[in-house]
Symmetry: C2
Subunit: 341 residues, 2 copies
């Protein structure tokens, strides 16, 4: 039988985690002080902005052990944060992890979650430099805070979109939400037989490399990762930039799997693309004359498709979806809301 | 009736928090990018090490609304982190906050928690630059990640203690644990009639200013904040430094309130000073010839008492408590363990 936290104790678990990190971490980032002091310490590089973000996953809200392996849960917690760093044009440096654990959580599961962290961090040379363990009530939670860096003149905010800019998106948004829906209905209690939509939720990728290439191209006027859904995050860009936007319905990228799911569900596939969904794709704006160069920069480092799906407009025009017949409307899609669902 | 999160929704709450921070924050620290983008961004100073720490408070484990006001809960979450930065000799710069909230949590309580954050941050000029909101199950949790900075040559780690060093401690350790014990028995359900021990738990101070003065004196060989209790954290210093230690029982600082509580409980007051307790006092080691200068540095900025309580010894000697009759023993006190209690 596997050892639980109540049996191993906090310091026993801490030692196991520390040993696991020492043996399995391939972090190229070397802090001055790592795990095991009051704080971690490192010397930042001159000429760079530091990027700071945190994201949290709560058992029963964002994941369950019935639907995801501990390793997948760990990977997902890191991907969310890596994605945010990439959406600023930066590269991740290091992370601290805060875990809330039930007394009955097995130590083996915690170790597998850490191996999930490393599966995402090791290819980037990023290290875990500290953290915190706490007892939680009925649900486990994982909070990751990540630091990244970006050259001062390459930082890409969400507030720079300008009238006439082209709106680009990577990949196939909407798949994660569709996968979650499938998982919570068809696949209850099992982890096998997963299709590509389920994998979009349980094993999401990030576009940090692509975001870095976008920043280095110096073509983007704004960029955001669409963790709140395409429509919701386009709203964030428009509000921050003081603009409106129009998306062309027929240009929205729809994966074959999502199109098939829409048929099964009797849903409009375009609405599935736009709605709230935890996809870690990038939404980017740039001047029309820079679009080709920006796409080339992404294509040079990645096979992810990039699609031009609309344009930035006057703020008075709000955010609209234009149908093939030329008519415009505002679909009923709101960003992810953690409390009212 | 006060508005709950289920009624205000995530984005409604986010807007209220953002407005509260804009109006009430006195952060002198100005990030390049603050709340409202994928990440916060700021330019670190050349010649400084960045310090990174996180700490988490879980409802029902570290606090309850029956015993602490929302503002006290917020203050405490910040004090824990400020203390860690101070124990490295640094000054805090900025924080990100991750909250796990029940759907029934009142928005007014969340705002009061934020006012608690600011009550600790504003005097230090520290700003909240980002965060995350998530739904939680049955208990609220607050995770704070704090960044600080310290001049490269002033960083004080826990690993530098040397044979013969004097061991110093600020304030009166053990009071927070005693206060918690009183609160969980005598004061159940009420927030009035608090004595100084209860306040040591519900309204702890930090020693960041004192820690900074210690670092600037360049006298300390090691320093740690005693959030795991005096005995437990002395163990951390000894393990990191490869030393033993002996504490003189008669030199342990015992507050009048703790001495009285010990009489009421029939406990040994020295054990109460040494045991696991969330006090944010500093434990410091230095060469004997530097002790006066180090104490003077603290006295110049603070009225907190500093006591020399023992010496660093050979690692073979382990950690011992010496009684007035000269005999030594190792008391049965272990550090805070979040899972086995």
């Amino acid at each position: 039988m596997s050892v639980t936290l109540a049996q191993s104790g906090e310091f026993g678990l801490l030692e196991r985690i520390q040993r696991l990190l020492e043996e399995e971490s391939r972090g190229a980032f070397k802090p001055t002080v790592g795990i095991g002091d009051d704080t971690a310490a490192f010397a930042p590089r001159a000429g760079f902005e530091l990027l700071l973000t945190c994201d949290c996953m709560v058992e029963g809200r964002h994941f369950s052990f019935a639907h995801m392996t501990p390793m997948e849960i760990g990977r997902r917690a890191m991907v969310m944060n890596i994605s945010d760093i990439g959406a600023m044009g930066g590269a991740p440096l290091c992370a601290v992890v805060s875990l809330g654990l039930r007394a009955g959580t097995s130590v083996a599961d915690v170790e597998a979650i850490y191996r999930g962290f490393l599966a995402e961090l090791n290819p980037l040379g990023v290290g875990i430099v500290g953290g915190n363990l706490a007892g939680s009530g009925d649900g486990l939670f994982i909070n990751v805070t990540m630091l990244g860096e970006v050259e001062k003149d390459l930082l890409v905010k969400r507030s720079g979109a300008r009238l006439g800019d082209v709106i680009l998106v990577t990949g196939y948004p909407g798949q994660a939400a569709a996968g979650l829906q499938i998982m919570l209905t068809a696949y209850q209690g099992g982890k096998s037989g997963r299709d590509s939509l389920v994998r979009a939720y349980t094993r999401p990728g990030h576009r940090a490399r692509e975001g870095r290439a976008v920043a280095q191209s110096r073509c983007a006027t704004s960029m955001i990762d669409i963790s709140d859904g395409l429509w919701g995050d386009l709203g964030h860009i428009c509000r921050a930039s003081g603009t409106g936007a129009v998306l062309e319905q027929e240009r929205l990228p729809i994966s074959t799997a999502l199109r098939e799911a829409a048929v099964r569900w009797g849903s409009d596939p375009h609405e599935l693309v736009l709605r709230e969904s935890d996809d870690y794709e990038l939404l980017i704006t740039c001047a029309p004359e820079d679009a080709v160069r920006l796409c080339s920069a992404i294509n040079a480092c990645s096979r992810v498709p990039v699609n031009a799906i609309g344009n930035i407009t006057d703020p008075e025009k709000d955010i609209m979806l234009r149908l093939p017949d030329g008519s415009c409307y505002s679909p009923n899609t709101t960003g992810w809301n953690h409390f009212t669902r």
